[in-house]
Symmetry: C2
Subunit: 440 residues, 2 copies
């Protein structure tokens, strides 16, 4: 017999959870019609301080519980929605929900990136679904694409702008020629960056999201520790100026590729050709380019965060879980894989990219010969050298070198040797260059 | 008991059908593992001439049948894939398949645009699924978005570049300053436009696709006849030059909006602000912007046609149908709606947009006053007037007028009156302007 009602328990009443509750209450009738059964919020597990939020006043107080047991012991709850964020206690909540045979919906990127494979196995053991569309890219439909729409493809690569804060900062630096610190302050003043911005500007948030996407795309567990990471704080306004002159934009990209049975995954600033669509994604928006062997390049673009977009994804997951309950079948969204990932990850030292180098050197004849020799010793070819500015007082010059593809370890050794070369006063920056290839 | 095999029948061996067969044969094992049962091609219904195609040599000849009955009477076929295109006999095939209780997968935009609602009802009656992800945007995941990922949203608008041929032609006209005829010939030489290009350049192909998207987005049947249509052949190189000077790009957009319970749907050239991401989509690519009340603006971009991208979508649909068969539940992708659409469609005459007008007028004082009076009589305000070129011999001048928003019927009447105004030698072009609003 089909159920007439699907019961929902929500953990949290923060920005996302509150909006999810509001959408379910406001659009419940329409959604119920589409699912073919009533979607009923049974309990909202809150902290005492949540009850002071303005939203709390809009919701029937009888739904609120402050004890975990009151939520988990309600036999009429079929789906548990977690939207408190962070690793703990969210992870414990999700395990308890799955162990209790509840379908789980979460938008928690950290817990999925770190424990998604384990949670996916737990879900499979209990024949329930684990869904987390909201964990990457807000409401942009992404997660399910890999198991559904792109299922016939071998995925070769992902190139993604998946952190709105950093993309906003980089967009302003590019457009206005301002320095990182100024752009960060602007972003903080507008609420696009947090008071402690490390999670965003150091690329940690993007690492979580890339680990999730790469795990799905390549059907190999990729953990946050497997992802190489560099933040954006060392980018200077001059780098944007020179990149622009060379026909490139600077973006913080999350890149994952698969070849020869090995996966590479990295988050760092890159120069990309300015004519690519990805280069034109400005502000707090996200854009995720997925390259498949059949579909070619598809790009998904939209708001990557925020209460409404994330609620859009979370409610879609709730509806999908409800349909699975109604239809009697549940598909877990995480491929439950037994193989450990370690040996399948290609370390950054072995990854080949082109490089942009900006350095200050003494303004003498023969300097370039010495630099070229160091690069040549490590089989790094130069594709372009530009002398940018001279400082006549200090008798130094700033030069920019664009290399041909070189391994990470070769470049690292060359950079170390530059430090010992008397003529190199400073390596001001080195940034990887990604051509990305065919459109976009 | 779960089935161990899902049988597939394919109608056609053309570009798409052939690639679908090839993908199923090459990737069958991997796909079967993901579905949890074997996907087996049982029969491929071909015409005699199909057997001469090179692809036919790669496929076991025992699969080929030339009689319809040999396909439809095979009791082990669960899913029928139609990829012959065109309205007939495809429509009859799809009806027969659904009537026989087979799940149907098609990439046929014409048949779905014209008969999707009827076919959806038939599918529902027989408790089977009708899927057509490949009918719009090649492999770009679109169709299922409305019923799944965006289900919590009220969709307010769709703005789409969904015909690669016309976008290629317009991109070349914009970049190279060439005329339409030249750009069309180039497109034909490269195989991007057909020898008889009417279906593309007159917007017919885009109308089919928009009718499908609007039906899904607004849950109201929108037929091809409900969609207002203008092609691109009357665009001149000067329009591109002037649009560029004014900060606009010219695109053939498929636009659908819903407000106050009425739907507007139209395909015509538009000026859009050049800073929008949509304006930067060049070449044969497609981009579909969907605006939802929660998700905001999401944009999907990729190759809109071609054997591989379309096969990506068709095989994904086959896998989805197979999963539904395995799980015992089928969700039809077309909302089966009983309400006729007629009265819900907003006619073009009532639709308000800004306009770009290019006209040749006599080079006299007082001309502009006469033009402004005609526009004013119909409550059309001018936002900008630019005198472009003078022809001293003919004593004429070319002017460009940008208006504020005006109703379609008001503008049509004003254009008629210009024809009777002695000072207006020619209205060379008028193009609607869409601001589209918030990013992108």
């Amino acid at each position: 017999m089909k159920k007439a009602k699907v019961g929902i328990g929500i953990i949290g009443l923060g920005v996302v959870a509150g909006q999810v509750a509001r959408v379910l209450l406001e659009k419940g009738e329409d959604l119920s019609r589409q699912v073919g059964c009533q979607l009923v919020i049974r309990r909202i597990k809150v902290l005492e301080e949540d009850l002071k939020r303005p939203l709390a006043g809009e919701i029937d107080r009888k739904l609120f519980v402050t004890s975990d047991d009151d939520l988990f012991n309600d036999p009429e709850i079929d789906i548990i929605v977690e939207a408190i964020g962070g690793e703990n206690p969210a992870f414990a909540y999700l395990k308890r929900a799955l162990d209790g045979g509840r379908h789980v919906v979460t938008s928690n990127k950290e817990v999925i990136a770190k424990h998604g494979t384990a949670l996916g196995k737990l879900a499979a053991e209990h024949s329930v679904s684990l869904r987390y569309e909201g964990s990457v890219g807000g409401g942009i439909p992404l997660i399910s694409r890999f198991q559904y729409d792109l299922v016939a493809n071998r995925i070769n690569g992902i190139y993604a702008i998946i952190n709105g804060t950093t993309n906003y900062i980089l967009s302003r630096m590019a457009r206005e020629g301002i320095d990182f610190d100024v752009a960060l302050k602007n972003a903080q003043a507008l609420g696009y960056a947090e008071a402690n911005p490390a999670n965003d500007i150091e690329g940690i948030d993007a690492v979580y999201k890339l680990a999730i996407l790469a795990t799905l795309a390549f059907q190999t567990p990729v953990s946050p520790e497997d992802v190489y990471r560099e933040g954006i704080s060392r980018l200077g306004s001059r780098d944007f100026q020179y990149a622009c002159e060379l026909g490139f934009a600077i973006k913080l990209l999350a890149i994952a590729k698969s070849s020869d049975g090995r996966v590479e995954a990295r988050v760092h600033p890159v120069l990309i050709p300015e004519n690519l669509l990805l280069a034109k994604v400005d502000g707090v928006y996200n854009a995720i380019l997925v390259r498949g062997d059949l579909v070619g390049d598809v790009l998904f673009y939209g708001e990557g965060a925020g209460a409404n977009p994330t609620a859009s994804a979370v409610v879609a997951d709730i509806v999908a879980a409800a349909r699975a309950i109604m239809g009697g079948n549940a598909i877990t969204s995480v491929p439950a894989l037994a193989t450990p990932s370690g040996n399948k990850i290609k370390p950054i030292s072995q990854i080949e990219t082109r490089y942009y180098l900006r350095m200050t050197v003494t303004d003498d004849a023969g300097v370039l010969a010495q630099i070229a020799r160091v690069l040549g010793d490590h089989r790094i070819s130069i594709s372009q050298v530009i002398q940018k500015t001279n400082d006549d007082t200090a008798k130094t010059a700033e030069i920019v070198i664009m290399t041909h593809p070189a391994r990470g370890d070769s470049m690292q050794t060359a950079l170390d040797e530059f430090g010992r070369l008397g003529v190199v006063k400073e390596v001001s920056n080195f940034i990887r260059v990604e051509e990305i290839g065919s459109q976009p």
